[in-house]
């Protein structure tokens, strides 16, 4: 099973089709959504796409621990806020808390950054920090019409399944 964390980028709507693409590849998906993501798409859409209930808050079930050792944590789309918090291991919402728990368990983490170019430049230092410590990997945006766009579903699925297999071999 993979955990798909959806954060507040306008690309959040892409997560619905992405979840379906994983299921077409026989991968079960559990979704976490940030508050900002819930302003963009309704959790019901992700519940439908994944066939599983969506985590929007942490409860007595300690969801951040329960799902921290799945095959992969995929943050798509990943905002500047979520990436920067992870770079400094801040845990102040369900997704950032899940991320540091997963990191502590050595679960693979992939970010698909989705933000305006200027924001991407502004958090470059945080991205470099994550890359240097090897705590997570990144799937770069697809360049089209001179703009950075959300990568194709197929590329994300290929990179995700590869990351899972490479991690198992280690």
């Amino acid at each position: 099973m993979i955990v798909l964390c959806v954060t507040g980028s306008v690309a959040a709507s892409e997560a619905i089709k992405l979840a379906r693409e994983f299921r077409r590849n026989d991968v079960e998906v559990k979704c976490f959504m940030s508050e900002a993501a819930c302003e963009l798409i309704h959790p019901n859409s992700m519940e439908f796409a994944t066939g599983n209930s969506v985590v929007t808050e942490l409860t007595g079930e300690i969801e951040h621990v329960k799902y921290s050792q799945e095959d992969l944590i995929l943050v798509a789309p990943a905002t500047a806020n979520t990436i920067s918090k992870f770079a400094h291991k801040i845990a102040d919402n369900p997704i950032s808390t899940l991320l540091i728990t997963a990191y502590g368990h050595d679960t693979p983490i992939i970010f698909v950054p989705s933000m305006h170019d200027s924001m991407f430049k502004a958090i470059k230092e945080n991205i470099d920090k994550i890359k240097e410590e090897g705590s997570a990997t990144f799937i770069n945006p697809r360049m089209d019409e001179g703009k950075a766009k959300f990568p194709s579903k197929e590329d994300i699925v290929l990179e995700s399944l590869r990351a899972i297999n490479l991690h198992k071999k280690d």
């Binding site: 197929e154 590329d155 290929l158 990179e159």
Partner: protein, 183 residues
């Protein structure tokens, strides 16, 4: 079939390079691709890089003939025209000469022949090119022609493994399983 094999190998963690000519499928951007146009270009590109690789999978249906002469002008259409063709270099036969250690996987597409004849053709390729494994099929069948989503193949080396009609994705999994077992 080539793209499905590339995807499956990539998912399993292989570092790979694709040499791509005229294909009808979209190549995902995660792949490292070298685009070529002609069979001789493909030959040159492959031979220049083949010593760096552990496995070579030859799925391309390379043209058997090429023009002896090429014109850089539009041909006059007022008289009849004879095309002079010459056989192309068989890429697959060059591979082991340059890199004898490589695991070589060939494909053999035949048209409307029996299972025994297909196996014989595959074994002929093994002796001619030093192929370690041949994936053979009959493209006259309506459900497994070039460009179809499904395929039914024989995987031939000393033994013969029949892979019944399945999606190209499923077949790719079986082929990569067989390669993994043998390297």
């Amino acid at each position: 079939m080539g793209l499905e094999l590339a995807k499956e190998a990539y998912i399993r963690g292989a570092d790979l390079k694709l040499v791509v000519a005229n294909v009808t499928v979209d190549i995902p951007s995660v792949f490292d691709v070298v685009y070529v146009e002609t069979s001789s270009e493909m030959n040159d590109v492959i031979l220049s890089m083949i010593s760096e690789f552990d496995i070579f999978i030859s799925t391309a249906a390379v043209s058997d003939f090429e023009f002896r002469q090429k014109s850089d002008k539009k041909l006059d259409s007022s008289s009849s025209l004879f095309l002079n063709l010459k056989p192309t270099t068989k890429i697959i036969r060059q591979i082991k000469k340059i890199n004898p250690e490589i695991f070589l996987v060939g494909f053999k597409a035949e048209f409307n022949i029996s299972r025994e004849e297909i196996i014989e053709c595959a074994r002929k390729q093994i002796s001619n090119a030093g192929t370690d494994l041949v994936v053979a099929n009959d493209i006259s069948r309506t459900d497994c022609h070039f460009g179809s989503d499904n395929n039914e193949v024989l995987i031939v080396d000393d033994e013969v493994l029949s892979v019944p009609l399945a999606s190209k994705k499923e077949i790719a999994k079986t082929i990569i399983d067989e390669i993994s077992k043998k390297i």
